[in-house]
Amino acid sequence: MECIVTVELGTNAVRVMAFDLQGNVLGTTKATYPTFHTEPDYSEQDPEQIFITMLYVLKNFLTEKIHPGGYRVISICFCATMHSVLMVDKNGVPLGNAIIWADNRGREEAQELKGSAMGKSLYESTGTPIHPMSSLVKMAWLKQHDRERFKKTNKFLSIKSYVLQQLTNGYVIDYSLASATGLFNIHTLKWEQAALDFAGIDANRLPELVPVFHTPGKLRNEFQVSLGLPNSVKILVGSSDGCLATLGGGVWEEGKAIITIEESGAVRIIGREVVADPEQRLFNYLLAENCYVSGGPTNNGGIIFEWYAKQFGDFRTAFDVEHTMQRLINDAAEVPAGADGLIFLPYLLGERAPIWNANARGTFFGINIKHEKKHFVRAVMEGIAYEIYSIGKTLQEHRTINSLTVNGSFASIPICAKILSDIFRLPVSIGRNPDSIAQGAFLLSATELGIYKSLDEAARTVVLATTYQPNTQHSKVYQKYFRVFERLSTKLTAEFEELSNLQREA
């Protein structure tokens, strides 16, 4: 029987999944790789370790699960996190580690560009908010502060471009990932000259732009042998994690939005046109031609709840964070909606959408003498959800949203999905396949193979499982508290800045 394999190069891990041609999951596996923080603002990953980990886990998966099951792999579709920058020399040898999305070294460059007219026009042409995450900003930083390496660089790649080059040959980047670099014009589908000038490079120092359905070349012979794959196996360049999570969540037509909350989170919609936000709060990434994924990302998703659990949870055995979190979830369920007036701003990691303030910090607000430990847990969960809603609300200024799909390890916790439904006052469905990124990659491959006529048709096949309806009583409570939350998130700007400067000095 024939099958499709998806490879997702995520922030912490590579996930490999296999589907039969009807979309049933045949198996899944993952393996992690580390992020190095050699300086406070730095987040880097070793491209060789990512490549070897991917190869290792793919080989094990194929030999243990796919080949013995009698399945023949017909295509492998790739997907990766956005905004990474990897420099390679003329032989394709990496010049140091890859700089990933979470890296903030370009803080000052971003701030300067964002306030300028050039920044505004670059945002409009490229769809990428001006922020240290943007590849453009990272390259501007490198040009200024790491000149030797910048000069030696033959190509500026993304991590996925590097992995694909290792497996096949060419240097390529798909439209989706390109649209998150800040260098790609999402209207003309070409590298944007003004951005190239700002970064100080020519287009030939970037990989070749290709559509998401593109095949960069044959899998090299050596890998065919070591992975036990036929010469005919098709390597599909694929898309970005954000775009594929949207597709895999079954979001296609207008009126639908998807909330993803893993460690970080995002709210996304899909449309034939970009969302032009005059305040530059939302991104517009390209899934396919005339198909834009728009929305906003938050730094502070499930990672904040996990932080709380690690600090204040009741650990019965060493390292057992899963059960600790489960007990906290049970505690939170005992507290009424609104946490009896305790409000939490979850900005422990600074924040992106909608306030785009790297200096923002976490805050418990409104503590009174009756609040117990469990109120704090509830407040943390609600604070994460309020933040998601503030992104959703920004989107609602531009588009109507009638229903929501949620996915990701944090958002699919039943109590979280319920809180989201109540805060948004909208029905919320949870996808059946918890891994909507892989699901999206499957739909992309299946469309490429002609199983579906279009991505539109593919997305309609996504089956949603549980649905929650909003509770009117709870919604009213949340609406009142959200107004305070929203005001606090901007009211403290001066204090956030002063305090984060003090923290940096400490």
Binding site: P34, Y56, V93, F315, F319, V321
Partner: protein, 297 residues
């Protein structure tokens, strides 16, 4: 207990223990300026407070110590009073010769009955946890009192007992430093420490036992957690890092295959070549030719 001071080469009680540089119980009744100016430790120093409150700077960090607290200072680290003097109170002070090194030789010397692997684990743990002060370690005072009693009594088995007690003290300190590290709540963070330890000494023949001690876990539950978290068994994760590092070296011309193999922890260039080919489909030679086309090596 009365105060005492045993100094190597001065007091006769330490004659059979050349590795103990100093062992003392000091009761300090008055504050004297400049009585504890920061200095760089030559030996492993263990302090234990029995009375009073001490404010110290160890390795550039400030600590306040109360009775039952233990401070240990590794050779090369700095220690002194925060204000340059010794506070009022009573402390045990023990200095032991210890060589911190990357080599596989034992760091303590022949007096210790700890296996070389245990000695290395203790050493690594003290370095990795980077925690100069352990709070409320009641056993420490008892052990130090026992060492003193044995030293003074001259009974049968005196040398063996004192050395055993020193071993026990070191084990206790290493274990306590792992327990106290709040890393026991944060697997990913502790795993990052392991990752760094592995990368710092990739040529070392790591065992699962050694790795597990960094987490204060038994090997079974350690292996389970590593598999759950990384997707690999501990040893396969290590191979993963070894191959990644080897690839980087292969991409530099002029490093020969045997050096690459040994630096990254393979037994031989043959072992390296087999493992490499099995995973990547390339021999190291073919791989280098592909990556560095102009190389003539």
């Amino acid at each position: 207990m009365n105060q005492f001071s045993l100094q190597q080469g001065v007091t006769i009680e330490l004659e059979q223990f050349p590795h103990i540089r100093e062992f003392a119980l000091q009761k300090n009744a008055t504050i004297q300026l400049n009585s504890f100016i920061p200095y760089t430790a030559e030996y492993l120093q263990i302090f234990c407070v029995t009375d009073g409150k001490f404010e110290w700077a160890i390795d550039q960090r400030e600590y306040v110590l109360f009775p039952g607290d233990v401070a240990f200072v590794l050779p090369g680290q700095r220690i002194g009073g925060s204000k340059g003097f010794l506070d009022i109170g009573a402390i045990f002070r023990l200095q032991i010769e210890m060589k911190f090194s990357e080599s596989t030789d034992s760091s303590l010397g022949s007096w210790s009955t700890l296996s070389p692997a245990d000695q290395q684990s203790i050493e690594r743990q003290l370095l990795v946890n980077n925690m100069a002060v352990l709070f409320q370690v009641k056993e420490a005072i008892e052990m130090l009192q026992q060492i003193h009693a044995e030293l003074m009594a001259y009974e049968l088995g005196r040398v063996t007992r004192v050395n055993h007690l020193l071993d026990s003290l070191l084990i206790m300190i290493a274990r306590q430093s792992t327990r106290q590290a709040d890393s026991r709540r944060d697997f990913p963070r502790t795993f990052m420490k392991l990752e760094q330890a592995l990368r710092n000494n990739l040529a070392h023949q790591w065992t699962v036992e050694e790795m597990a001690t960094l987490f204060g876990l038994g090997t079974t539950s350690f292996t389970e957690r590593v598999k759950h978290y990384t997707g690999f068994s501990p040893l396969n994760y290590l191979i993963n890092i070894r191959i990644s590092e080897a690839i980087k070296l292969l991409k530099q011309p002029n490093v020969n295959f045997t050096d690459i193999a040994l630096d990254t922890g393979f037994y031989s260039s043959q072992h390296f070549s087999t493992t490499f080919k099995k995973l990547t489909g390339y021999t190291p030679g073919e791989f280098r030719k592909r990556s560095v086309p102009n190389d003539t090596n």
